[in-house]
């Protein structure tokens, strides 16, 4: 019986496109031929994909997931390139009636960022500045700090509190600034101020994307579109091959890369091993995060 896999993407270009293409070619080589991979045509009506409980919809990006989850409550649904908070909120607002649902989150497990700091910058105390809406992340950080026995300086801005003053306070009390993607604090709009100020304090920044490292962060751990494609394909295939009704648990990225800005490292007098060495040490630290 033919089973359909629909790939729905938030964007037609960039990393979303890369993920889609990668997944398509991987799926074609792995799945039996009775699976048909479709890309629904570009139109509003195509949202009402005629997919049932035996079919699979794969969404790439938050917007794609939001649209599909609102319009189809019975098919199997795998989301990728989506933050955990967004996946869980949208799922809660649109409960599924049938089919299995899972995801590969976009953000690295918090543990991995802190382990990166510990491996590459031993002895340095991480400082973290969070926006007012980051309550869940704050709890996670406190817990992992205890588990890893790695003291942190953590500050959460109150709703009217000034970013500049908050950042100054964190920088005065830490040896490395760990920036999590947070819309109020560490988004590309504030990157300039964050990088210049941290540099002025002589404090390196560990960020969450390759672009940030190019801009001046000391290093970052992130996953490439190819790595997301690989993991999402594996998740999808496991789901397809599981004849029972087991719901695969949503995952944090398993495959990741580390990038280092050697110019910044040199300027700050920080001696680092190569990105590849740090990557392999980080990998040997253990499985991908938790859920």
């Amino acid at each position: 019986m033919a089973e359909d896999i629909y790939i729905v993407s938030s964007k037609l270009k960039g990393p979303h496109y890369v993920v889609a293409r990668e997944m398509e070619s991987r799926l074609k080589s792995v799945l039996p031929s009775n699976f048909k991979i479709r890309f629904a045509s570009v139109s509003d009506e195509a949202l009402r994909i005629n997919a049932g409980p035996k079919d699979y919809i794969l969404t790439i990006g938050s917007q794609a997931f939001a649209d599909v989850v609102e319009n189809n409550s019975t098919t199997n649904l795998i989301a990728t390139l989506i933050p955990r908070v967004t996946y869980q909120s949208l799922l809660q607002a649109n409960p599924r009636k049938a089919g299995r649902t899972s995801a590969v989150y976009i953000e690295q497990p918090v543990q991995r960022n802190l382990e990166l700091v510990r491996i590459a910058l031993p002895g340095r105390k991480p400082g973290i500045l969070l926006g007012p809406q980051s309550g869940a992340l704050e709890k996670q950080l406190h817990r992992i700090s205890k588990e890893l026995n790695l003291p942190l300086y953590l500050k959460t801005l109150k709703p009217n509190e000034n970013l500049v003053a908050g950042l100054d306070q964190v920088l005065k009390n830490c040896d490395v600034l760990v920036a999590f993607a947070d819309h109020e604090v560490s988004n590309p709009g504030t990157a300039r101020h964050l990088l210049l100020t941290s540099y002025r304090y002589g404090i390196p920044v560990v960020a969450y994307s390759r672009a940030y490292v190019r801009a001046g962060a000391l290093m970052a751990v992130y996953s490439t579109p190819e790595q997301f494609a690989r993991q999402t394909t594996e998740l999808l295939v496991r789901t397809v091959q599981d004849k029972g009704d087991n719901v695969p648990v949503p995952e944090y990225p398993i495959y990741f890369s580390v990038d280092i800005n050697q110019n910044v490292a040199r300027s700050l007098g920080i001696d680092l091993e190569s990105a590849l060495e740090i990557e392999s040490r980080l990998r040997s630290m253990g499985r991908a995060g938790d859920e």
Binding site: Y6, I7, V8, S9, S10, K11, L12, G14, Y17, A20, R21, R38, F39, A40, S41, V42, D44, G61, S62, Q63, A64, A66, D67, V69, E70, P83, V85, T86, L90, A93, I106, E107, P122, R124, K158, N162, V164, A165, N173, C174, D175, A181, D182, H183, P188, A191, L195, L196, R200, Y208, S209, A211, R214, A215, G216, N263, V264, R266, S267, G269
Partner: protein, 656 residues
């Protein structure tokens, strides 16, 4: 691949996605901020001995006069001078002594603008219009650095960097009071939009007098700094400021009758500056800048005094202008190479009717071309080589080269060796002095002319050769740094004045000195709350200077006593948990004597203890501090007549 993707329309899926984070932040492009040209050389590659005084050191030290902050730098001495015929009260800052009240051998910059006085040299610290609260950090290079900073970077360079307008927001009012007469009110504001930030500061100050003196000052200042961000990380940095006020002058109660008096009277100062710097960053690897600035200084001083028993009226007023234009280009063609080169032109001019026996402005034009290359060879070696060529219309052409090699023994340790030469061009006064006072001109005009300062215009640039070997240790975890060096500086053709046929103070090249020794600075951070910083210099001086050229041979004196053998500082900084902080500062200078100064046979000690608290008013930060200054007792650092007292100092900052 067939078909196209399904592209989700931008119709929102309910209200929720608006408020939820998306994946965009992980894939957005971010323009390069810390480009290679913007990144500072790592400490281990720097070809010179550098000390950085940051805000937390300034705060903990309890020092609240800007020139006195230099006591935190190894080998630096600060003196307090009474005003005299030439200038109002000065606070000279020198390195390893060898100076009089005008400290002409030190280059001082504020945000890249030289604030060295063109007429006499030295810095009129109280006329800069600079507030201590506006300082972000001070970078001091110990030793000559003419290859990068030009003539007058002779003994060292002090670069004061003010707080970036983007570094804060809001308005703060401050009041400082001390038991020795200081009353300071300040108002500061940071503001602006994302691409156009500014910082403005205004202050009113009354201070002094020193015990038994008539040297109180009163001052109003205003300063503006704006940074306008253009596209692609290009920017314009604009600075404007003014400072004016009253200076009490004179040594003698007007009722005193004596052969030579300088009676009490009031003088006025009036200074302003403008500076604009345009920086263009066309790529990650290159940067251009063009800077223009202007400093204006005015000192109004007219008085009547007794010279050799005769009542004489003088107009000792002066005006100075400095104009400077500079272009600089930095490139990083490959990772191992960085080049900086540039050219500049400057006009220094001074006016003073009595001082130059002329109503004309005395002018010195200076043109310069400079370059510095940094070459990183492999993991172990960094080489720096550079030079500055300067042509001055009064002193001809000089070339100041520097070569340095840094060897990185391992991650933590670096050995450095450097050789350099510097020149100091004569100041406008040293070149054009022709000071005439008309004795008895009050009762018997026009009076008898008497020339007391004179220069025939043939004064050459003074020269220094510098040799140093340094060792730097930076612990991997950043808890401990140690920076030390061994040095020899050979000064030749030192510019000085001495008694000669033409005048009792005639300028010429009359002196030489060798100063050699060792310095060390260290910082240890016990944890994130406590740190200790220390600096020590040991120096020996062998030198002579001409005091009288009318004898044959010329009479000389030894200048050995102008350099103190020991200079030591210790700073302890501790932050308590509930926003209290404490600092203890100790400073010791062993016996020395400034030129024209009192012999300080036992040296002097300074102890400051500070307690501060930060708190919130509403959601904004506020603070107060209480400081005990000079707790070890009254001391003298230059002249018997200026005695610094034990002082209680209180400061409050509140947000508006």
């Amino acid at each position: 691949m067939g078909g196209a993707f399904l592209h989700s329309p931008t119709v929102r899926a309910g209200k929720t996605l608006d408020e939820l984070p998306t994946e965009d932040v992980y894939f957005s492009d971010i323009p390069v901020v810390l480009s290679v040209t913007r990144l500072a050389q790592p400490k281990s590659d720097v070809p010179a001995a550098i000390t950085v005084i940051d805000r937390s050191m300034i705060e903990a030290s309890g020092i609240r006069e800007i020139p006195e902050l230099m006591r935190l730098v190894p080998g630096f001495q600060v003196g307090h001078d009474y005003g005299d015929l030439l200038a109002p009260q000065q606070t000279p800052v020198t390195y390893l002594g060898y100076s009089d009240q005008f400290s002409r051998k030190m280059q001082v910059l504020v945000d890249g603008r030289s604030v060295y006085d063109p007429m006499y040299g030295g810095v009129r610290w109280s006329e800069l219009g600079l507030l201590l609260d506006d300082i972000d950090r001070i970078e001091v290079i110990r030793g000559p650095n003419a290859a990068s900073y030009g003539s007058n970077a002779f003994l060292g360079v002090i670069n004061i960097i003010t707080r970036d307008p983007a570094s804060a927001t809001g308005t703060t009012a401050g009041v400082d009071l001390s038991t020795v007469g200081k009353r300071l009110a300040t108002l500061r504001q940071f503001g602006g939009s994302e691409n156009n930030r500014y910082r403005i500061s205004a202050s009113y100050l009354e201070d002094g007098p020193h015990v038994g003196r008539h040297d109180a000052i009163q001052s109003q200042t205003f300063a503006y700094r704006g940074v306008i961000k253009l596209k692609n990380e290009d920017s314009i940095d604009l600075h404007l400021g003014l400072s004016q006020g009253l200076r009490q002058l004179g040594n003698d109660d007007p009722s005193v009758v004596a052969a030579d008096t300088y009676p009490w009277h009031d003088g006025y100062v009036n200074n302003n500056y403008q500076q604009i710097k345009w920086t263009r960053r066309p790529s990650r690897n290159s940067e251009y800048s063009l800077q223009l600035y202007h400093n204006y200084g005015q000192f109004d001083n007219t008085y009547q005094a007794y010279f050799s028993g005769l009542l004489s009226a003088s107009n000792a007023s002066t005006k100075t202008n400095r104009w400077d234009l500079e272009f600089q280009h930095t490139i990083n063609p490959k990772t191992e190479w960085r080049w900086v080169w540039g050219l500049g032109a400057r006009l220094d001019e001074a006016w003073g009717v009595d001082w130059y026996t002329s109503n004309d402005w005395q002018q010195n034009y200076l043109y310069r071309l400079f370059g510095n290359g940094e070459w990183r060879r492999g993991e172990k070696w960094t080489f720096n080589f550079g030079a500055m060529a300067e042509h001055s219309t009064v002193a001809g052409t000089t070339l100041s080269p520097r070569v340095a090699a840094n060897y990185h023994v391992n991650d933590s340790d670096t050995i450095r060796a450097a050789v350099s030469r510097g020149y100091r061009n004569p100041s406008v006064f040293e070149n054009f002095a022709n000071t005439t006072v008309y004795l008895d001109n009050v009762n018997n005009p026009p009076g008898i002319p008497f020339t007391y300062f004179y220069s025939d215009g043939t004064v050459n640039a003074a020269k220094v050769n510098n040799y140093e070997v340094g060792y730097l240790h930076q612990a991997r975890n950043n808890r401990f740094t140690l920076d030390s060096r061994l040095f020899l500086m050979q000064f030749r053709d030192t510019i000085a004045y001495y008694n000669d046929v033409t005048a009792p103070y005639t300028y010429g090249n009359g002196g030489e000195a060798d100063i050699y020794g060792t310095e060390v600075q260290g910082k240890y951070r016990f944890n994130s709350r406590t740190s200790v910083t220390t600096s020590y210099a040991y120096a020996r001086h062998q030198g002579w200077y001409v005091s009288d050229a009318t004898t044959a041979p010329a009479t000389t004196g030894s200048s050995d006593q102008t350099t103190p053998t020991h200079t030591f500082s210790l700073l302890l900084d501790h932050r308590f948990k509930n926003q209290w902080s404490a600092g203890v500062f100790y400073h010791y200078v062993s016996n020395m004597q400034w030129f024209n100064g009192t012999p300080l046979n036992n040296g002097y000690n300074i102890v400051n203890v500070r307690l501060g608290k930060q708190f919130k008013m509403g959601s904004k930060p506020a603070s107060f501090e209480i400081i005990g200054q000079n707790l070890s007792g009254e001391y003298i650092d230059m002249l018997n007549e200026i005695r610094l007292q034990r002082t209680l100092y209180v400061g409050v900052r509140i947000p508006l």
